[in-house]
């Protein structure tokens, strides 16, 4: 990473100058142009401008969050005052949301659902990906194609059958009822297979000679080698399930089994135009995730890139 940046920063110097010169062909003209002072001022100004533009854009990106928090700290009477700083800040809105809703319960529900789903996906997708990457058995190719083909089916096509299943099997209003569609993901199986293909066969054969059984080889030899991929898959799965909306909306009837997004959606549409309360609810839903993101931003972004590029 660092070396890349250095190389790029250095190489950017001659390029810019050559382009701005009418006669870029001779190497000597290049040397001419890079007189330290002129080049420095121009580059510094351009760079500061770039930093500034991107900073303004970046602040624009997080502005809705700032506005959300500002509004959530205003009293009902001040909500239309539209100043960034609340005239008389109060935490009453948060208190009211916490009292009027089952926020703690919704938060716990989301946490349980997202955590169990993530653990399940990490384990079973790794196991299936490993098997499809390292075993040849009758039907293995067919199974792989079958799993891959499910990627093309949109979730929305399945919610009606899932709903009927839930009713018939009495899964509605339970954690399993919310989780079951996501406990294994075809995308994850495919991703893990890609990564396990890179694990050398010699290593696996050596472990067999050492008397490891096949599960021990997977668990103790292969899995530790693809840890970054597992971590990436976990981040992706957790985020997706934490923010999932359409299926939890359908799968849950009772108020106390709602996940956070579903609960917040119901509360917001019932509160109609009480935006001081709605913004407090929105802040309660987004701020914990934003804090976790800021703490683990490096790992999270790396994970998103890893899953994005291999997928």
């Amino acid at each position: 990473m660092t070396t890349n940046t250095v190389v790029r920063a250095d190489s950017a110097v001659p390029i810019t100058d050559v382009v701005l010169r009418p006669d870029p062909l001779s190497a000597s003209s290049r040397l001419h142009v890079v007189t330290p002072r002129r080049y420095d001022t121009r580059r510094t100004v351009a760079r500061w401008l770039l930093y500034l533009i991107l900073l303004v854009g970046g602040l624009g990106m997080i502005f809705p969050f700032i506005w959300m928090i500002a509004s959530s700290l205003k009293r009902a009477a001040d909500i239309y005052s539209l100043s960034l700083i609340p005239p008389s800040p109060t935490l009453d809105n948060y208190r009211e949301v916490l009292q009027r809703t089952e926020y703690a319960r919704w938060f716990a529900n989301s946490l349980v659902v997202a955590t169990i789903t993530t653990i399940s996906v990490a384990f079973f997708d790794s196991l299936a990906g490993y098997t499809l990457a390292k075993f040849r058995f009758p039907g293995s190719f067919f199974i792989f194609v079958m799993i891959l083909s499910t990627l093309m089916v949109p979730t929305e096509m399945l919610v009606i059958p899932w709903y009927m299943m839930s009713i018939n099997l009495q899964w509605t209003d339970s954690y399993w009822g919310i989780m079951f569609p996501g406990v294994i993901s075809a995308f994850g199986v495919f991703l893990m297979r890609q990564f396990f293909m890179g694990v050398p066969n010699d290593l696996i054969d050596a472990a067999r000679l050492d008397g490891f059984n096949e599960f021990q080889i997977f668990w103790k030899i292969a899995l530790p080698l693809v840890k970054p991929a597992v971590a990436a898959l976990c981040i992706f799965t957790f985020l997706g399930n934490w923010n999932a909306y359409i299926w939890p909306l359908i799968a849950v009837r009772s108020e106390e089994m709602r996940t956070l997004p579903v609960g917040i959606a119901f509360f917001s549409s019932e509160a109609q135009s009480a935006f001081h309360l709605i913004m407090a609810a929105a802040a309660l839903a987004t701020v914990p995730v934003l804090l976790i993101f800021i703490i683990f931003q490096r790992q999270i972004i790396k994970g998103i890139v890893l899953t994005g590029l291999k997928g």
């Binding site: 509004s71 059958p161 009927m164 359409i246």
Partner: protein, 296 residues
């Protein structure tokens, strides 16, 4: 038992639960959705008569379905190109920064990790006739605009929020893609006298092609399934005003889970149409990607 056979048994044991899952919870329900789409299906009714392709012919005569289909493609055809242009520009800028890249990435990526329901309501608040945007516009003598309340602007207001929320993901993927473009090519092109724009068009863009294809396809598929932000932002969450923001998935949800009697057969027929569109795009993607592999 031979060693090979014994390994087969391990493999089947490892695959047992995943296979059960995919057959029972993915493939079975997919086939079942086709089956339901051929029936008049109300879960509480005793009879669910087989009606052949009637649901599909009724779709063709349903003005709201056509509206939803048209809107869905507006979400795709406006949202995807605009967000790609913005995110690529940002990525090209960020790539040039030597310091504070981590900080800048936090700013641009933050919306992506948050719940679309919650931020949908935040935007709804800013879009209100007496909200922030109109206050700012009012100071310059413009407006007020009823962004979400007017059939001509509501869909674009929702698209803007969608772009904002997904931008960070695209920026990050573009940054990763740009990093894989070797600087040597740039230097070579520069020495040959290529301008900044020419270098971008003839060097960066072609080498960025796989990233671009990936982002276009994921963007198209995500936008075809647009639902949450419309529920959060349109008036009463029904895809209004005057169905100007309704999408296929929202209409499916209304027909299957909100209408009385429930029209699950009809809704399933719509999901089959959605599936066919995604299938077509996936097949197209496979063709484009395999062509790329031959090129480079």
């Amino acid at each position: 038992m031979t060693l090979e056979r014994r390994r087969w048994i391990w493999a089947y044991a490892f695959m047992a639960i995943p296979l059960l899952f995919f057959l029972g919870i993915r493939i079975g329900p997919t086939i079942f959705a086709f089956w339901v789409s051929l029936h008049q299906w109300d879960p509480i009714a005793l009879k669910r008569p087989y009606i052949g392709l009637d649901n599909y012919t009724r779709l063709a005569d349903d003005p709201i379905f056509w509206k939803a289909l048209r809107n869905t493609w507006i979400y795709v055809l406006v949202g995807v190109p605009v967000s790609l242009i913005i995110s690529l520009s940002i990525a090209l800028g960020l790539q040039r920064l030597a310091r504070y890249v981590g900080f800048y990435r936090i700013l641009y990526f933050a919306p992506y990790v948050t719940s679309l329901v919650a931020v949908g309501w935040v935007w709804r608040w800013m879009y209100m006739p007496n909200g922030l945007f109109n206050d700012l516009l009012g100071r310059t003598g413009l407006g007020p605009f009823n962004f979400l309340g007017s059939p001509s602007t509501a869909i674009y207001a929702i698209i803007a929020t969608t772009i904002w929320q997904g931008l960070g993901f695209q920026v990050i993927i573009f940054l990763a893609g740009l990093e894989s473009v070797p600087t040597v090519y740039h230097e070579a092109a520069a020495i040959d006298g290529a301008s900044g724009w020419q270098r971008f068009r003839d060097v960066t863009l072609p080498l960025l092609n796989p990233t671009l294809v990936f982002l276009i396809i994921t963007g198209v598929i995500n936008n075809l399934q647009v639902f949450t932000q419309i529920r959060a932002m349109s008036s009463q969450g029904t895809g209004g005003p005057l169905n100007s923001t309704i999408s296929i998935v929202l209409y499916v949800y209304q027909q299957a889970f909100q209408s009385l009697p429930s029209k699950m057969g009809y809704a399933s027929a719509m999901t089959v149409v959605l599936f066919l569109m995604i299938l077509a795009i996936t097949v197209f993607q496979l063709k484009v990607l395999s062509r790329n592999n031959n090129d480079y």
